[in-house]
Symmetry: C2
Subunit: 329 residues, 2 copies
Amino acid sequence: MKIAVDAMGGDNAPEEIIKGVVEAARKNPCEIILVGDEKKIRDVLKNEGDTSNLPISIKHATEVITMREHPADAVRTKKDSSIVVATHMVKDGKCDAVLSAGSTGAAVAAAQLILKRIHGIGRPAIATPFPTAKGVTLLLDSGANVDSRPEHLVQVGIMGAIYSEYVLGKKNPTVGLLNIGEEETKGNEQVKETYDLLKNNSAINFLGNAEGRDIPEGNFDVVVCDGFVGNVVLKFGEGLAMTIFKLIKEEIDAAGVSAKLGALLLMPTLKNLSKRLDVSEYGGAPLLGVDGYCIISHGSSDAKTICSAISRSQEYVKSHILERIKTFI
Amino acid sequence: MKIAVDAMGGDNAPEEIIKGVVEAARKNPCEIILVGDEKKIRDVLKNEGDTSNLPISIKHATEVITMREHPADAVRTKKDSSIVVATHMVKDGKCDAVLSAGSTGAAVAAAQLILKRIHGIGRPAIATPFPTAKGVTLLLDSGANVDSRPEHLVQVGIMGAIYSEYVLGKKNPTVGLLNIGEEETKGNEQVKETYDLLKNNSAINFLGNAEGRDIPEGNFDVVVCDGFVGNVVLKFGEGLAMTIFKLIKEEIDAAGVSAKLGALLLMPTLKNLSKRLDVSEYGGAPLLGVDGYCIISHGSSDAKTICSAISRSQEYVKSHILERIKTFI
């Protein structure tokens, strides 16, 4: 298996991306092509010890798409950007998957323009694994499209259920529709229509509406929503969790000796919890609905996240999800 | 000042509602009318010690609107329900404000049907104070209306800024529009149009788009969004915070003696933090945009929350927000 990694995308690129790739290559038998500025990549690789025997190669690309650029315009004009070149390698059959921690909009636009949507799919969706009290819940769409129509959201639900079953290993995964109340009559026009369509779709195990709290509580395997709502919720959740842990630290710093000793004794336990809640364990989120394997990692990804994302990408490719989605749609 | 309290609304009604009212009446010079089943109210009051000298009276109402009922239908048919009777007392000038922890939909419908909207206001909004790293951020609309139009959201922003300034004491409060990115071009049609309108409105201190993480980080005094998004975000936030603290407890329970000792030593610090983040300190959320003072408390409110909500309601009435909103719109 060959994975094209956008070496230039992300807040910590190229350093952390390349570190993560080296770590992954040392662990798993998987060929990785680093796409981006060859000189910069070689400079970073030099610091990673002996990598000459690792299955890592470089594909030079002269441009980078930044977070500030209009995604679709940038993909159209920057033909030699790392994300465009990496996505083309999948389209041309030179790689099995593309992974990027760069501009999410650019990765989605490149996938839509180059790999194209699976025939019959209205809107691709980013499927983000969210750590919960009971394991992991797949939240999608978490930002590929805003203003989705109800029929698109039904497809999003089907794709999410397939991913949850064949990659995350949930049997007959439960699907919920993110809404402001449990009752069928709740919500805006978009979700009310989606509810009716999901209820009458026998392909998935639809349990009804999910409220916001159902996500962290882990009451559904898959939660479906519009990309606007999903993206706001995810960023809010990241911010809230970070704020809570930051405030705990602040209170400890301001507290007396006994609290500081308490914090010290409790540290291994808190670390254990932080591992349970660590998004980087999942590494990346697949873009479902395009005709190729595309994985999007968080902009702030570090080496550990990229390494996990590469493992996850391998499972994703091996699952033959693309064929399964094509059969269902 | 007189406040009508829906004694029958909420998961813990009437017990906790009445307890909270007694606590508030003992603290503050404010007349309270408990609205609901007189016999039940008297039975609970008996357990609260000597209340004969407190400024608490009872207004009998035979019906209750439950969470499961269709709000507007229930308000129209159950004319002798506690929330309808309490709201009428404000309309008729017998009370200055109405407070309910019952069905939010019913409280909003009663306010809209009985108090009516302020002339010129398209949609009322629930303004929820959210505890953040830097104090409190007002999130609105957090659930009064879904499918708001851009011009409604601008009014929501203006009302939020007025409330933030005159009740929460923020000077020239900063206003953000909840969106999926900082850039002006981001988001769905609704928020893009709203952005343009807010940008050109000199009445408020609009700083641009707020992302999900900006809410817990406290980067804006007021964050404006559609009631669908606001409600999902709030419930998600409640669930996530509860899940994190529940998981910390789980990990401690499963850990060894030293971690348990650490937890014990750290307890006062964690309690301090939990107080900083405690939503019940704010008690309730005003429904802005209706022609009367209406405060909505969380369905799970306990006595402490109700007591805080009564204090907050008094500040709200004293602020003459209604007149200020009427001047601005």
